[in-house]
Symmetry: C2
Subunit: 246 residues, 2 copies
DNA sequence: CCAAAAGTGTTACCTTTACACCCATGG
DNA sequence: CCATGGGTGTAAAGGTAACACTTTTGG
């Protein structure tokens, strides 16, 4: 009984990465075929898995992430449950699930997670490709398998709204980063240009953003100051701001 | 197959109500007994249900709410899934579930919803008691069944954090309310006293909070102006504020 | 006339916004 | 020496926070 895949519950992960220009998401090839037909169509899906009977949901999502990226202890949060009885209803999707899981599949409830990774720490594109995984810029995402477009969209909106309340942007940047990189990150996630003088003033007031004795190298312009984010200091000094919309 | 209860997936609802003084939550008697033993213990649980095979998750939660309160079209949002393999592991919990559902139960993942209702529109306390349901003030909640204390706590935190971003407080107030009632509501949810002159100034600027040609009656003090919340106007005039914590 | 909550304004401070030019580096 | 992005300050406007007294009703 234990260590069996549970055919009723799955996890799917929206894994975000940032290359200093745009947000990307990690997607997996899905080859549509059945036991006796050749590949009839390819498309892309979110990384995911059925959950083992004795496995915690968070553990299951961590496992997917680890297998794919090689990383552990990564920012990972469940954000929504997709459980419409008809969400896996078309024949191709059902066949694919039944074939790949070797289990009788009817209704599958999926727990959607979003994850933020530092692209430079993840397996290289070559290694990812061996798992059929690719970084796709958000603007280039086409029709995905199952209801994964809907899940991706919801994950993006969660990221947007959480970014306003928590300093999670740093999960997407290398340990050392420039203010410009941070600003661009906020701009692409929020979808708004920001004034960089005002942005820098904001930064300057935050004691948990610490300028290093280091600058960029090999750039064809004045090299920028590097900073790091001190998470511990953030949580020590953070003050609840009781601003509410009403 | 259709219209069968799915023994793997349930919904649980944290239903909040406000009586102008404190937040309350709607809880249900659970009588612990088995086929051949009498009632051995009573405790309280969140209202919930297993999900039918052909039933949407939101529909399932609405069904629970309707059965209990008599209300439809109520504010109801999923906020977390609880799916630890050991969350229903003690014998009493397992026996109860198996006995009441008449299904073989092992692991159950539950989708937790929080709901905001106007206490004056819900079934009266008498009617509720016929379903074994009671409004319990948050401060008076003791040990609940299963992991329901944890679910309740998470629901409360979700309510707190959403209240800062969305005007959902009005779901807990009658259609006509006073500024003092609104302020008390915010105070008990946020857990902070607010300055009432400043609070009123804030209100005065909001065009979607509309003073009525009506005042309180039968109060032993100067009767207060009544207001209503115009949801449509709110969504028409709302402007995204791009404040972010960083 | 008393108790109880309603309602009202001002000031100091802080935050946000808008806006333009010189600097340091690589090629 | 040119192209590229790095880095800087000020002023006006708006929002937030702190604070005490008069008004209106029921009993």
């Amino acid at each position: 009984m234990a260590n069996q895949l549970n055919p009723h519950v799955s996890v799917d992960c929206v894994i975000f990465g940032f290359d200093f220009e745009a947000l990307h998401v990690l997607l997996i090839d899905r080859e549509l075929s059945t036991s006796n037909t050749p590949v009839i169509k390819k498309d892309l899906k979110l990384p995911g898995s059925l959950v083992y009977d004795d496995e915690d949901l968070d553990t299951s999502a961590s496992r997917v992430l680890k297998e794919l990226t090689g990383l552990e202890n990564i920012f990972l949060r469940q954000f929504h449950i997709f459980g419409s009885p008809s969400r896996v209803s078309n024949k191709i999707d059902l066949d694919w699930l039944t074939y790949t899981s070797k289990l009788p599949i009817s209704r599958v409830v999926t727990i959607a997670y979003y994850s933020l990774v530092k692209i430079d720490e993840v397996n290289s594109a070559d290694k990812l490709a061996m798992h059929g995984a690719h970084w796709i810029a958000l603007d280039d995402v086409g029709n995905l398998a199952f209801d994964h477009n809907e899940i991706l969209q919801a994950g993006l909106e969660t990221l947007r709204s959480r970014l306003r309340a928590e300093p999670i942007g740093f999960e997407l940047l290398p340990k050392k980063f420039t203010i410009r990189q941070l600003q661009t990150l906020y701009e692409v996630i929020i979808g708004q240009k920001l004034d960089s003088r005002n942005f820098r003033k904001k930064i300057a007031k935050l004691r948990y953003l610490i300028p290093l004795q280091e600058r960029e190298i090999n750039v064809a312009h004045k090299p920028a100051q590097l900073y790091r984010f001190d998470k511990r200091l953030y949580y020590k000094t953070r003050k609840e701001n009781f601003v509410f919309t009403l």
